[in-house]
Point group: D2
Chain length 100, copies 4
C-alpha cells in the first residue's frame, strides 16, 4: 500500500528555532530515497507505507538524539486503492482545473 | 520508543457517515491491546511505536477493505525521552493546575 | 455556521512542560461559554464559527502574553449543513454501532 | 497578529475527487490577496490573523454552497511575536543549513 504523508515535526524544549531539526529530517527522507518536497509548514513524502513510516520513526529518533527531550508532530496520511496518484498528479489535477 | 498519537480517520467516497469506519478502527486498537480513548473528533492511542503504527496501518487497510476507495487521516504523534508519561498523566497535569 | 474543532496548542521556546498554557486555553473556552472537552492530546470545542475562532485567537494571544515567543497549533475543523450534530451525538453514533 | 497556516480541506459526501473544491479555495485566497502556496497535500497561507481566518471560513462556506453536506479540514497555525518571518524566510532558513 502506497501512502502520501504531509508531516510537520516539532521538537520541544530546544528553543524557538527548529530548522536544524527539519534539515536532518530532510536528510532522512533523502537517504531513504523517498520522493519528498518541503514547503513552508511541513514536508510531503510519498512511497510504500512501511518505508515512509520507517523514515518518520527515524526522524523522531534523530530529533531525540540531537537533544530534544520531547517531540510532537502533526501528519496527514493519504491512501487510495482506486488508482495510483503521485504528488505531481494531485497538483496537476488542481492546476488543470484552474487554467480553465 | 513509546508514542502517543491522536488520529482522526476519514474515508472518502463513502458518503457523509463515517461512524462504522470509526467503529472498526476502535476494534483494531482494542484487538492490539493498545491503551486507547475515543473523543468526538479522533482517538488517542498510546504504546510502543511499532505496535501503534501497525494498528494505524491496519485501520487504513480495513477502511479500504470495507469499500473506501480513498482515506485521509490526520494524526498527532508525541514522543518523549525525558520521562514516561501516559495519557492519564497528561490530563492530570492539566487538571491539577486548574484546581489551584 | 456551527463548527466543531479539535485543537492542540504548542507553545515553543518555553521548555517541555506546556500544561500551564493548556490550562489557560481551557479557561478561555470556559469563559466564552463554549461547549468543550479536553482529552490527552487536544481539546474539542463546538459552537458558532466566529465565537469558536475568536477563542482560538485568544488562546494564541494568551500564550504569547505568558511568554511564548512562538506557538504552533494543529487543528481539525468540521462543519456540516445537512443536520445538527453535537460532540455527544458523534460519540453516540459510534457507541451505538459498537454495542451491536 | 500575523499567522501562517497550512490547511487541507476535505469535503465529504461528494465522491473521491476533491480537486474542484481545492480550486475554489485557491481562488478565495487569491481574491483575499493573501500570500499563499499550494502543495500536494494542502496550502500555506500567511497574513493578518483575521483576514486569514475569514478566508478559511469562506472556504468552508463555499464548499457547502458547492454541494458538500459535510467538510473536515486539518490545519496548522503558527504565530510568533519575537520577529517577522515569512514562508520564504522559513524555507531559506532550512535551505541555508542544508547547503553547509
Amino acid at each position: 500500500m502506497k501512502v502520501m504523508i504531509d508531516i510537520c515535526v516539532v521538537p520541544l524544549g530546544v528553543g524557538v528555532s527548529v530548522s536544524e531539526y527539519v534539515v536532518e529530517c530532510q536528510r532522512i527522507f533523502e537517504a531513504a530515497e523517498l520522493s519528498h518536497e518541503m514547503h513552508a509548514y511541513g514536508t510531503n513524502v510519498e512511497g510504500e507505507w512501511d518505508k515512509v513510516m520507517a523514515a518518520v520513526k527515524a526522524c523522531h529518533e534523530k530529533m531525540h538524539e540531537m537533544g530534544a527531550p520531547r517531540c510532537t508532530s502533526s501528519m496527514r496520511l493519504g491512501t487510495r486503492v482506486d488508482r495510483e496518484q503521485t504528488m505531481r498528479d494531485k497538483l496537476d489535477s488542481v492546476y488543470n482545473k484552474m487554467a480553465i
